[in-house]
Assembly symmetry: C2
Homo-oligomer: 215 residues x 2
């Protein structure tokens, strides 16, 4: 298969090399045909690797991969040419990240508020800590999983309140608690409720809990 990849960063080059390892032909696309990272990648990739512009990669592709900065996607896809992608599978590996306010970034699209923030605004002098919202009620107390323990993710503006809740969570059987920062991190924890729910609907499992596997 011929694979066209848009983007020469870590993701683009990692996937490009993986496709070559699996026996596919890859063209790594960049804004400029002279892109040095793309040229260096193609040189070490051997005969199955080549590089060019976004349009070159789109024209080459049986299957295309979008691996540029997510907020640049409209510009990148316009340069690639919608007509060159008609009917083709386009794997979108990107995230619309906004680094303008530092690290970690924020999502630049949607995600303008959260239930946690609304609760905190409604009772401004209470010390709101988001917790338990990422897992079903059957797993809230003493979750027992092969491969566990699962992770509990919390957030809130008050450090002492989070310490208190972390100690409580340990009593509840959650030794792994990760503090995600201020209450605005509810923008990331609340979608995990939907991840939990849709995962259940799609797999038929209603007794599951998130864990980050780590090396």
């Amino acid at each position: 298969m011929r694979v066209g990849i848009f983007g020469t960063g870590d993701v683009g080059r990692t996937l490009a090399s993986a496709f070559v390892t699996l026996g596919h032909e890859v063209k790594l696309g960049a804004r400029e045909a002279s892109n040095e990272k793309a040229a260096a990648w193609a040189k070490q990739a051997g005969p199955k690797g080549s590089h060019g512009t976004f349009a070159d990669a789109a024209g080459f592709a049986d299957l295309a991969v979008l691996a540029t900065h997510g907020i640049a996607n409209p510009e990148v896809l316009a340069a690639a040419g919608a007509e060159r992608l008609e009917g083709k599978v386009l794997i979108d590996t990107t995230n619309p990240l906004d680094f303008s306010k530092g690290v970690p970034p924020r999502l630049a699209v949607g995600h303008t508020d959260s239930g946690g923030e609304i609760a905190q605004r409604t009772v401004p002098r209470a010390r709101v800590v988001k917790a338990f919202n990422i897992v079903g009620h059957k797993s809230m107390f003493r979750p027992e999983y092969a491969g566990g323990p699962p992770d509990m993710l919390i957030c809130g503006n008050d450090a002492d309140a989070k310490k208190h809740v972390t100690a409580l969570l340990r009593d509840f059987g959650w030794p792994e608690v990760v503090d995600f920062g201020g209450i605005e991190a509810s923008r990331y924890l609340e979608p995990l409720c939907l991840v939990w729910t849709i995962y259940g609907a799609k797999t038929g499992s209603w007794n599951h809990a998130l864990k980050m596997l780590r090396k």
Copy 2:
């Protein structure tokens, strides 16, 4: 400790019983003091369990727990009384879910668009499949984890394209692929990029991948 819980559904009653099991006193709060689920819960909970209105539970609490429907939080907290919660830890277990368009629900707050949807709108006749966006590039090819394999979550509007990408993901070393539905599910998969990133920042782990532990 005295715990006041707002909400008599599965989450409220599960947490109420857990707190009692751990030796705490619990008052389960509802809109009406006569709420039958709250009364039934208190009856079986023994001397450490009681019930009342949201305001009763707020006044009782050393620590309060919000476990009503997320979209009702402002109303529930107004009934509880912001002044009764001043300085108290308030655990927010809720999610602002909108069931008006069926199941699975949507997030009622924020989350009005996603990068995946923008990409699909930009190249309307390409078949966009969101994939790989929830994990760092070091884990994209042949992820090896004790306790693995991790889960890959994908979405997109074209069923055949998703089958193709699922087969490719298996080649890449991802036997567990869950199809989250149409491209609008990017609204849930893109926040997982931030979950991955913030988890890394908070734990110092930069080689991690999500798995749903299942029973």
